[in-house]
């Protein structure tokens, strides 16, 4: 069953216990509220995108999920267990890289994994080799971490998250510093993790990446949840009708359409009109223009990218969507 299917089944059943449940999660650092009343549920086998501009509270939230940061209010529950009372029962089933992967520069990649494996306990030696192979570091396993490129550090970080065979994987900007081929490998790896039954929380500002691999997303701004839901549903909310008419008819067409019931907004962009209207209104729009003797060259449905939706919500500019030219 696909990840989408598992998620749908879990939601439809209504009985599935969320792998991760955040309720009213709040963190204040002095006068600054980094995260405010955050509610989230992550279900088994889903890849969940966690978006927000820099300083939105993503890393603070992940820090609270990992017990590194004490919430000012609210609860973190994972696998049905309260983190504050069952820290190790929760964390031993969680793999995470928070922001830049931090390892020991004087140790080799293999020894860094061994140090973590010793701390966790019960990790067989062959698991280290498997993971080094998986992330393409087998050839450099004996080299010191301090000699690694940023991309190699990220790969080692991903390997470290999988050491203890976690059920919940938290990845904070996992493709940061990777070359395009490396980014693609990680994008391909994430659905594989979900296919193995793991739940993945992917915090990223690479919205194209998130749109490709995540079933659901949450968008955080200034510590508050501003949107959450299935990716396609969120994108559907931003659907608009695009009307192309002859340039000399543009003003008149705008005037006609702005008076049309059901049209919430009319905006000019690149010589076209973008209507804030339901897709079903296309026929009515066409008819209204034709009655006034204006015949549209094109009338089509335009769907937001996740980046456009994100920018609309957060008002952020230049947030680095690296979507390739289409």
């Amino acid at each position: 069953m696909s990840a989408q299917g598992r998620l749908a089944a879990a939601e439809a059943a209504g009985a599935a216990t969320p792998v991760l449940r955040l309720r009213g999660l709040t963190k204040q650092f002095g006068a600054i509220t980094a995260v405010r009343g955050l509610d989230l549920d992550l279900y088994p086998g889903e890849v969940f995108g966690f978006l927000g501009p820099n300083g939105a509270g993503k890393s603070t939230t992940i820090g609270m999920i990992l017990g590194l940061i004490r919430p000012t209010a609210g609860t973190v529950e994972a696998f049905g267990l309260d983190l504050s009372r069952h820290r190790w029962e929760v964390l031993r089933r969680v793999g995470a890289v928070v922001e830049t992967p931090a390892f020991y520069g004087h140790l080799s990649g293999r020894d860094n994994l061994r140090a973590i494996a010793l701390a966790v306990g019960g990790v067989p030696e062959r698991r280290i080799d498997e993971l080094l192979e998986l992330v393409g570091l087998a050839d450099r396993a004996r080299d010191k971490f301090k000699t690694y490129s940023l991309g190699m550090k990220q790969r080692l970080g991903i390997a470290s998250t999988l050491l203890a065979d976690p059920q919940l994987v938290l990845l904070d900007e996992p493709t940061n510093g990777l070359d395009p081929a490396g980014q693609r490998e990680v994008r391909e790896l994430i659905p594989r993790l979900a296919a193995e039954g793991r739940t993945v929380l992917l915090a990223s500002h690479l919205l194209y990446e998130v749109q490709q691999v995540c079933q659901r997303v949450a968008i955080l701004q200034r510590g508050e949840l501003v949107a959450a839901g299935r990716v396609e549903e969120l994108l559907r909310q931003g659907r608009r009708l695009e009307v192309e008419v002859r340039p000399e008819e543009l003003d008149r067409a705008q005037e006609i359409l702005s008076r049309l019931p059901g049209v919430e907004s009319v905006e000019r962009r690149d010589g076209r009109l973008l209507l804030g209207a339901a897709p079903e209104l296309g026929r009515t729009v066409n008819l209204a223009l034709a009655r006034e003797g204006i015949f549209a060259n094109q009338l089509r449905l335009v769907e937001n990218t996740l980046e456009e939706y994100f920018l609309q919500l957060t008002g952020e500019e230049g947030n680095g969507d690296q979507r390739p030219a289409q």
């Binding site: 890393s59 603070t60 820090g63 990992l66 017990g67 590194l68 940061i69 004490r70 820290r87 190790w88 964390l91 031993r92 969680v94 995470a96 928070v98 922001e99 830049t100 992967p101 931090a102 390892f103 020991y104 520069g105 004087h106 140790l107 020894d111 061994r114 140090a115 973590i116 010793l118 701390a119 966790v120 306990g121 470290s160």
Partner: protein, 284 residues
């Protein structure tokens, strides 16, 4: 807890630092003995004969326990502070505290491992330093008259073990302080600099206050360095040793050990409290 200890020991022992610090201590002990021996040999009868004889006697194998222990307590404490401080503060500097804390069974295991491994390293410094002192002093005794009766007697091994334990014990408060300050300051510089500063300044301050006398002298009895001397003085109270008797002004060895223990306990309580309560963010 064992997992956290094993992981921390693995990480620390893979560093160059512990080996370098051990090398410095062993080299210092050997060098110190040899320099003094050379001084004794060249001084001959030219200087104060009693002073030279006392020095010669200190270098003999029967005095290895008090003499080496005194030497190691000074050098070793500095090295143990450097090791514990860099081990703890370095975790914040590199951000690895976040990586490791989420992988430890309980949060406090992380600092407990730092404390235990810091004390174990101090123990290793003392043990190997004493063995090095034993070897050099045996060689010196051999060159004098080949008399090893003092170390061949029954009970010497027990005295040596007791001295190793006492000398390690006097380092424990400084190791605990280095770990606490590493967590508090989130940096190696603070973790090493402050305890070393305290170690040196307090030695000077206690000397000055003792010279002033009166109530000021009484105050020094609470100082770690004075209690350190009190504990180490017990190393000289063994059969065959010809070192001078401890000053009456010093507290008893047990009192000294208790005061040092109280300092260590205070640092341990503080570090556990702080580490349990404080957030670990990207900035540390």
């Amino acid at each position: 807890m064992i997992n956290a200890l094993r992981s921390d020991a693995f990480r620390q022992w893979k560093r160059l630092m512990p080996k370098v610090l051990l090398g410095i201590l062993l080299g210092s002990v050997v060098l110190f003995y040899l320099l003094l021996w050379a001084t004794v040999q060249t001084a001959g009868g030219q200087t104060d004969a009693t002073g030279v004889e006392d020095l010669r006697a200190s270098l003999r194998v029967e005095n290895v326990i008090p003499f080496s222990a005194g030497l190691i307590a000074q050098f070793g404490t500095i090295l143990a502070i450097i090791m514990a401080g860099s081990s703890t503060g370095g975790e914040y500097g590199s951000g690895t505290v976040r990586t490791m804390v989420v992988r430890t069974r309980a949060r406090w295991h992380f600092v407990a491992a730092k404390l235990v491994n810091g004390v174990l390293f101090a123990f290793l410094l003392v043990l190997l330093g004493m063995l090095a002192g034993l070897a050099v002093s045996a060689a010196i005794s051999s060159s004098l008259d080949g008399n090893y009766d003092a170390v061949l007697r029954a009970g010497f091994a027990g005295d040596l073990v007791a001295a190793v334990v006492r000398t390690t014990w006097v380092m424990v408060p400084y190791v605990a302080a280095a770990v606490f300050l590493g967590v508090w300051g989130r940096s190696s510089a603070v973790a090493i600099g402050l305890p070393l500063g305290i170690f040196v300044v307090e030695l000077i301050a206690s000397s000055v206050l003792q010279a002033v006398g009166g109530v000021f002298e009484d105050v020094t009895k609470a100082f770690p360095s004075v209690n350190l001397s009190a504990v180490l003085a017990a190393n000289g109270q063994i059969q065959g040793s010809s070192t001078s008797q401890p000053s009456d002004d010093l507290p008893s060895a047990w009192q000294g050990a208790a005061v040092l223990g109280a300092y260590a306990l205070a640092a341990v309580v503080l570090v556990f409290y702080l580490f349990q309560r404080r957030d670990i963010t990207a900035e540390g």
